[in-house]
């Protein structure tokens, strides 16, 4: 008995390092202008999947990500840590998707992968902080969901039942849920294992078609071109909207019920501001003033 696990992962802009050109005029994210990282909670999700792979021999972990050609990096990072393979869902028609259009695209791809027992993703991505895609994927696939998971305690394959410890407001609870199941993993779960040196050696040349095309466009020859025929696992599969039979009306901006009306760079201004130093006289003066006007008692 073994599990087929799909891990949902997203390449996100590092929101800790955001510059002025981060947003387009339409209010969508200008991803090209930002350093890209593996969404932190998706790494927690990957770790839960890899642990199940170890405890349930014969299981497979497949990554699914959506993004531009350079998001193949996410698949590579997963392969370096022990995932078995992955798919990059990439198409211009997916651009500008809100959470609903994103979950539609992911759900169509998951159906194409098929035969899944568990779909595991991070609770939320740091660029949007919405936590919506996991539950929406579950609804689209007609599956149960367990969000804010901290640990997958047990998977009973015969009984088709999973036991999970999850975070709730002000506490924790343990739930059982049926397979197949969508799980979103909280940042308080175990951190992801580091890259495995042997797997880095094995997969470091793994690339998607767009990455290869980018090298060719710059006039260079693809290094070790013959390797990609010898070792098929070095070719990261890219799927377009057509490859997953997606309805274009439900993809990208077209399929997004939410629209960005306005984006403001707002600056906050205090009424009358006093600037002082950290000197004894200034701090003492401030405390005396606050006591005098009963701000502090």
């Amino acid at each position: 008995m073994s599990l087929k696990i799909v891990v949902l992962a997203k390449q996100v802009p590092d929101t800790r390092n955001v510059g002025k050109d981060a947003m387009t005029a339409e209010g969508t994210v200008n991803r090209a202008a930002l350093p890209a990282i593996f969404n932190p909670e998706d790494l927690n999700a990957l770790e839960q999947a890899l642990r199940l792979k170890e405890s349930h021999p014969g299981s497979t972990v497949t990554l699914l990500t959506m993004g531009p050609g350079r998001a193949a990096e996410i698949i590579r990072e997963g392969l370096y840590r022990g995932a078995d393979g992955g798919y990059l869902l990439t198409d211009r028609s997916f651009a500008g998707a809100d959470t609903l259009a994103t979950s539609y695209a992911l759900a169509t791809a998951i159906r194409k992968i098929g035969g899944y027992d568990l779909i595991i993703g991070g609770r939320q991505a740091i660029d949007g902080d919405t936590a919506q895609v996991g539950p929406q994927v579950a609804e689209k696939l007609g599956l149960s969901q367990v969000t804010y998971a901290e640990e997958i305690l047990d998977v009973d394959e015969a009984g088709k039942k999973v036991t999970i410890k999850r975070h709730i407001d002000g506490g924790v609870e343990t739930v059982t849920a049926p397979l197949p199941l969508v799980i979103t993993v909280n940042g308080s779960a175990a951190p992801c294992r580091p890259r495995n040196a042997r797997l880095v050696q094995k997969y470091k040349r793994a690339m998607g078609a767009q990455e290869k095309a980018l090298i060719a466009r710059n006039g260079a020859e693809l290094p070790y071109a013959a390797l990609y025929e010898e070792r098929p696992y070095l070719n990261i599969t890219e799927w377009s909207a057509a490859d997953v039979d997606a309805d274009l009306a439900q993809c990208g901006l077209n399929g997004s019920p939410t629209k960005v009306k306005a984006v403001q760079n707002i600056s906050f201004q205090a009424k009358e501001s006093k600037t002082m130093t950290g000197s004894d006289a200034d701090v003492e003066g401030l405390i005396v003033e606050l006591l005098a006007n009963h701000t502090i008692g």
Partner: protein, 339 residues
């Protein structure tokens, strides 16, 4: 039809503060739109629950009372909302940006293909012109939230899809009783009509909820530390100051992420929102998500060795100095002058 709905989050038989706050906001939105405010209570043993919610101006309370609806699990509650909304066609649905609201909201929005905006910090009514389509929409819900790591606030609208759904964190909206004797209608629904037996598949087998360790939300003075505090030990200084001032200690997300303070002390868009009369920001640069959680403080003091820290622009008192230098002096001079 076309009313404003609020999903009530219920722990045991007590309606959560965040839901009562949303009733207050929902009442105002309904007045502005000229429609009614309706609420949904789903749980177990809810007799008398209307007493908790009617004073907030609820015109219609939908009660779903059955075994299996508490503790909350996703599918039965989602089915209630999805099927009720198909009948009632609300124009707006609000819920708390809590673990429950953030689990339930997306599932409902997916089933109804309606938009959902998470963690809003303001909700307003206004018009929207879609220039490309050459269409103008009247009286949409502006769902306003900081986005994207700092510096921007986005206003989101759902022009075509209903309900317009939004989640809001606890403490963001004010809770105000409208009328202790407000008379609304109570409707007790047959749960089985809304939730098929097959939806009760996730079972809660163990559950621990603890009372909050502190009262950050209700504190009249908050001493908050940021990444600039340097360490967990650095925060000890803030606890010392807070003890003297009878204040609570808060933290920025950066400080929580760095492990300097516990997660439940985080102030900002993804933490709690506070409105104290005095807010002392220590080593906090002032990311917009943090500002969103404290900007309504009456008086803000910023202690920062960076004179250009964004938080200084909203502070009434800016102290250009290191926290190590300034905080002990504050404690010292408070002690010497307060007695």
């Amino acid at each position: 039809m076309n009313n404003v709905f609020v999903y009530l989050e219920i722990e045991g038989t007590t309606v959560a503060d965040v839901s009562l706050e949303l009733l207050t906001k929902g009442r105002k939105l309904a007045n502005q739109l000229g429609c009614q405010l309706e609420a949904i209570a789903a749980g177990c043993g809810l007799a008398g629950i209307e007493k908790q919610v009617m004073p907030f101006g609820v015109d219609k309370l939908h009660i779903f009372d059955a075994e299996g609806l508490f503790p909350y699990t996703s599918q039965p509650h989602a089915s209630i909302l999805i099927n009720l909304f198909k009948e009632e066609k609300p124009q707006i649905c609000l819920m708390g940006a809590t673990v429950i609201g953030r689990d339930l909201g997306p599932r409902v929005s997916s089933a109804l293909t309606s938009g959902l905006t998470a963690d809003c910090t303001a909700l307003e009514i206004g018009d929207y012109e879609d220039k490309k389509a050459g269409k103008t929409y009247k009286d949409l819900l502006y769902q306003i939230r900081p986005a994207f790591g700092g510096n921007i606030v986005a206003t989101i609208v759902n022009p075509e899809h209903r309900p317009q759904m939004a989640t809001v964190r606890e403490g963001v909206m004010k809770m105000e009783v409208l009328d202790e004797n407000y008379k609304g209608k109570v409707i007790r629904h047959d749960v089985a009509r809304y939730v098929p037996e097959t939806e009760y598949v996730v079972k809660v087998i163990d559950r621990h909820v603890e009372k909050a360790k502190h009262n950050l939300k209700g504190a009249s003075i908050v001493v908050a530390g940021g990444y600039g505090m340097g360490s967990r030990e650095g925060f000890d200084m803030l606890f010392d100051l807070a003890k003297e001032l009878h204040a609570e200690v808060g933290a920025s997300r950066a400080a929580v992420d760095a492990g300097f303070a516990d997660h439940d002390r985080q102030i900002g868009q993804t933490g709690v929102t506070v409105r104290p009369k005095l807010y002392i920001a220590c080593g906090i640069s002032g990311q917009i998500q943090h500002i969103a959680g404290m900007q309504e403080s009456s008086i803000i003091i910023s202690v920062n060795n960076d004179p250009n820290a964004p938080i200084n622009t909203i502070a009434v008192y800016v102290i250009n100095g290191t926290v190590e230098e300034v905080i002990p002096k504050m404690i010292k001079y408070y002690k010497s002058h307060s007695k």
